[in-house]
Symmetry: C2
Subunit: 697 residues, 2 copies
């Protein structure tokens, strides 16, 4: 199906994409390699190169048919890739980091996804040594392949409302796992639909007629040889989704299925074999901590997730030319690069700034978490653990900081995943018509990322936790019984003490003041919400919208603060030129956010109307112009290999149109079909050589 | 693959979806049938029922495999449907309205899409009688099946920049159609990829070395028998897209292809056969008018497009229950309907209000357009056409109103399609995890609708036209030479005269004042922009962001005004109860928009900070509570048959979970595959009975 010679001879008109990107890279003196190292470390960059080389050498990872294949072919290929990846990992002795780097590069969810994350983690963290021996060992050898079955058809966020039951039978010392209603069906469970032979099932533990809430049970669900479902178990794939179609999300129903005592993961709580009594969990703080860790990871990843879209859209905006500049001089012939239009800059450059803001924030959260874990284990080493109520020192205990970190991570997870989701779609649209083509590489990436806004806590539900924490902190500060023990208490105290004299922040001239304006607004909204709840006794439900806004405001403050502090503390790792641009990105992120949320900043009297007007009409526009020449180098620093982006529009070499054309004309199986177009003919395809569109393995 | 008996016996737990929706419908006294008639007329509703019955009786229109099939199967089915629809239309003697009703119900783009719209319209409107005889007749018989080839790989919005050439050869009186570069390839052309055998090709007309800009040429591109591309023509499908995959958007390249003189559509301009001279177009106002008409249609449709998502999300939010209300009384057992949460209401109910706002605005625009067309043709009937410069009467001439209507339609098209796109995604997410399933019916609908934001004028580019018009009007008003001739001039004049005394609108107590506040903000931003351009001499490019905001502000004013006026003028068509709720929806739309755009309202001094705070914390929250009981009946009034929605979540009878489960377990072909999950086994599928997933025809 090769094109005729006259087609193959055609080139894009005007300056070539490669020339335009070369010119862009020549405009800026940003040191890409230094900046990449600052973002990812040398070790991380070297790992990526090493893993990429291996993946590119294996036919099964070839991506050229990804955008064409239908659901079943894509799933089959994803399964083949998962198997091969496991073989490679064994052969090369890959670390967990190596495996994650490979997943990043492959960039599609796979059928082992939940086995390699939640299934193994849960067995490890919540199993006893005996259970490790029985389940974990087999799982680590991929004899048992598992999933994590929590969500039900009728129950998402509300874990306490799960309907699946595990009823203890004291006579034969077993549990009966049962699905009493259709809505009890496990649903959305990754790796369950076709792949897993085991599941960790979250079910209501019932002993002697009394319910003890959801607990984890390890249940075999498919035969190890035939891979058919076991008796009284009904399993399947839940069908196609907006994205994530390489994953077999599944459903699962139990009809009074008996499992032995050892099936209940018993590290924290268990049923005593002799007394048939429930044993209370030792401590929930470990799980509490894990969730905080997972959310911090989502925050950090959100920067990179968004950066893929920004990279593609920015490079394409430098290659794509449309219209002449209305005010252009005679000698500026030809069409203008789209990246020169302020309507494009105002969409892309604040998002470019956001990628760094989110990355630094996630990194800082993870560092804080690690430091705190270390501190807590030191505290725990002392006799009796951390002292409570023992004066000011107590206020800096690990558990206090963890509460702050936990609440912060909820709000930031919500803000960061929302920002990445929205931002990717802005990037896609900023590519104009071609953004709609699968070859843009943004659509499928966006669609696969979308569920992040729902899982690990729905983005709306989570904000209640932030509000609850801030209200509690505000009540404490109002009592004024002790010194502020963390940053949240500090900004609330500061607001109270300066409330009457007013703010007067120099947001346009002073970076620290810009951060302070965000803190001020967050504190203002906290005390407003407190007044509504505690004084005016408003219903919790009537305040959910306020709480959402409050969480968003506080999280934006955290991002601005972390961006600022990263630049303050690491100035020696970057050269002067790069650091200067990073400072501009910081200001762009902060001022653009501030003017987008202007009304809360007015209302709290953090800034004046005049300041906002100046931010909007002058400061932001000036920053756009200053950052513009560095845009391509800044996205280059994110260091995405072309193989990872899989995008015609985002190619490093700018050969956008050649690549679009090649994929459409040479790779597209629909072009191997000839139709009969006439309405009165019953023939649809006169010729159909399309064949299967799964990648050749 | 039928489920075992114990699975088939299962029911959802708690109150059933059907009971919950019945209870919702009992809560409100809104007369659904009256409201539906008000929206669509009795004739429109009857047509829908009649057409639906025919479609449901034909196997080829069965939708049950739509969400499962891959690209090639979906295209094949779409082709079969297009053919069958044409046969039915002939047999039943369908009108154009009947055909459009059928397309709405089928709800997927089809391979005849561009033939039946742009190809036929262009031949009709721009062809001479001779060309009608040669091309249109054959096209109406579906012997010629066509498309409209304007956009190129390197050129979207900028029609003047098209690269394809049509060079006049005076020797043999032919045109040579040629693609000089790869970027000249026609691209995105609907119905071209596999279906069309003719195209209207927009190409730069070149006579004697001089270019006369883009003109339309009818070109045969495929053989009428074999359907293979003709010599020196390279055609194909451009590959998969984010949506619209039932359509064969195509590419097209020409290598010096010769076409006769009659190929250039010559109603407005032509090449004189004898003199070889170019004949100038008679008037461009007809095309100008058509675009205005198309954009008004998009505005009106956007209400219905969004209403599909709102219908699905609202019904599901009444069926879905999560968590107990924190402040719930003892006796309120069980989980709370999601629709009772204010975080859900604040997302869905303003969108519900928006559906009506957009529908009424589009309807008003189309009525205005029709009235104006009538007036213009009357004016044209007078000797010498409309008088110019003849005093105040002149200011109400049709062409003046058309200029206003044209500019307004640009801004409204941008706002309305943007609002529908964003709103659909909000609806999808408001459905929680299940919104991500294809069975929600929102994802694919959203993905198919997305391009509307780009075509018929990119939503960003269009806003420049609005700004240009408003600036011109403002300059006229400043000169003060005549009375305001249309609403835009009126609000600008009014602003100027009251600017110093201030606004003081009673937005919370008076509906007319609420509309006036929107007018005030629009006028304020217009004069601001004028100052930047004319006094401060800012570059056009530096003002694009301001222009975008201005267009948005002016368009929101138009929507608020049209919603208000519709309720004022048609109060006798609705019963008192329904009209009262419609007024609340008007206020919700206006106040929610106002507080979302708060900073522009402050800055213009249209409202005070205190008013906004009251709008946000009190008025909007109160309206949500008041509208909440009517939500399900209001979406019912949009009158979408289940067959059209094709959504588990949006079912009229509330059987959400039963339908989700049925589709996943019974219709899903992936469940007819058994995998070998072990990494060391080379077998992927042990059994594969999935077969083809195209609907059985």
């Amino acid at each position: 199906m090769s094109a005729p010679q006259w087609v193959r001879d055609l080139k894009p008109s005007g300056p070539q994409g490669s020339e335009l990107l070369e010119a862009e890279r020549a405009k800026s003196a940003i040191n890409i390699s230094t900046l990449s190292t600052f973002l990812f470390t040398n070790e991380g960059l070297a790992r990526k190169r090493r893993v990429l080389k291996i993946l590119q050498s294996e036919k099964v990872f070839d991506k050229s048919q990804n955008y064409f294949a239908g659901r079943i072919d894509r799933f089959e290929t994803a399964l083949a890739r998962a198997k091969r990846l496991r073989q490679i990992a064994v052969r090369h002795g890959w670390s967990n980091e190596d495996r994650m780097a490979a997943n990043d590069l492959i960039s599609e969810p796979g059928p082992y996804g939940l086995h390699e994350s939640m299934f193994l983690i849960t067995l490890r963290d919540q199993g006893t040594p005996e259970q490790h021996e029985k389940f974990l060992k087999m799982a680590e050898k991929y004899k048992y392949i598992g999933c994590y079955a929590q969500t039900e058809l009728g129950h998402g966020s509300n874990v306490r409302g799960l309907e699946t039951t595990a009823t203890w039978n004291p006579d034969d010392k077993t549990f009966i796992i049962h699905s009493p209603h259709l809505t009890a069906s496990k649903w959305w469970i990754g790796s369950l639909g076709r792949t897993a032979n085991h599941a960790v099932v979250m079910a209501q533990l019932i002993i002697n007629g009394k319910s003890y809430g959801p607990h984890p049970f390890v249940v075999q669900i498919r035969d190890l040889q035939s891979h058919e479902p076991l008796e009284n178990i009904y399993i399947g794939d839940i069908g196609p989704k907006f994205g994530y179609n390489t994953m077999d999300n599944g459903y699962l129903l139990f009809n009074h299925v008996k499992v032995p005592h050892i099936s209940m993961l018993a590290k924290f709580s268990s049923v005593d074999l002799k007394t048939n009594q429930y044993k209370r969990p030792a401590s929930a703080s470990l799980i509490y901590g894990t969730l905080t860790w997972v959310r911090s990871t989502i925050v950090m990843q959100s920067g990179g997730v968004l950066a893929r879209g920004v990279t593609i859209a920015t490079r394409y905006a430098a290659v794509r030319r449309q219209f002449q500049d209305r005010d252009a001089q005679e000698w500026e012939r030809g069409e203008n690069q789209v990246l020169n239009y302020t309507t494009v800059q105002i969409r892309l450059l604040p998002l470019l700034a956001t990628t760094f803001a989110l990355h630094f924030t996630g990194k800082a959260m993870m560092a804080l978490y690690a430091a705190n874990q270390k501190k807590m284990s030191q505290d725990a080493g002392k006799v009796g653990g951390p002292q409570r109520g023992a004066g000011p020192e107590e206020t800096h205990s690990g558990s206090d900081l963890l509460a702050d970190l936990h609440a912060t991570s909820c709000g930031l997870k919500s803000l960061a995943s929302y920002t990445a989701v929205e931002g990717l779609e802005v990037c896609r649209r900023a590519c104009g018509g071609h953004g709609y083509s699968s070859f843009s590489g943004i659509g499928s990436w966006y669609a696969d990322y979308l569920p992040t806004a729902t899982w690990e806590g729905d983005n709306y539900m989570l904000t209640q936790q932030v509000a609850r924490y801030l209200l509690k902190a505000a009540r404490g500060v109002l009592k004024g019984s002790r010194e502020p023990s963390n940053d949240t208490e500090f900004i609330l105290t500061n607001f109270l003490s300066r409330q009457d004299t007013g703010a007067a922040f120099d947001i346009l001239g002073n970076d620290a003041d810009l951060v302070a304006a965000f803190a001020w607004r967050s504190a203002f909204l906290t005390f407003e919400a407190l007044k509504h709840r505690d004084e005016q006794k408003k219903a919790w439900n009537d305040l959910l919208v306020d709480f959402y806004r409050l969480s968003r405001a506080h999280s934006q403050y955290m991002v601005v603060k972390n961006f600022y502090e990263t630049l303050q503390s690491t100035s020696n790792e970057l050269d002067v030129e790069t650091l200067a641009v990073m400072h501009k990105l910081f200001r762009l992120y902060a001022l653009h956010t501030l003017e987008s949320e202007a009304s809360e900043f007015y209302t709290s009297a953090a800034v004046t109307v005049r300041q906002i007007q100046l931010a909007r009409t002058t400061a932001v526009m000036k920053l756009l112009a200053e950052i513009r020449p560095h845009a391509v180098r800044l996205v280059d620093a994110w260091d995405f290999p072309d193989w990872q982006l899989d995008s015609s529009l985002g190619r490093y070499d700018g050969k956008v149109y050649e690549d679009m054309f090649y994929r459409a004309s040479e790779l597209n199986p629909l072009n191997r079909v000839t139709v009969d177009p006439y309405p009165d003919s019953g023939v649809l395809f006169k010729r159909n050589d399309a064949g299967s569109v799964k990648p050749k393995l």
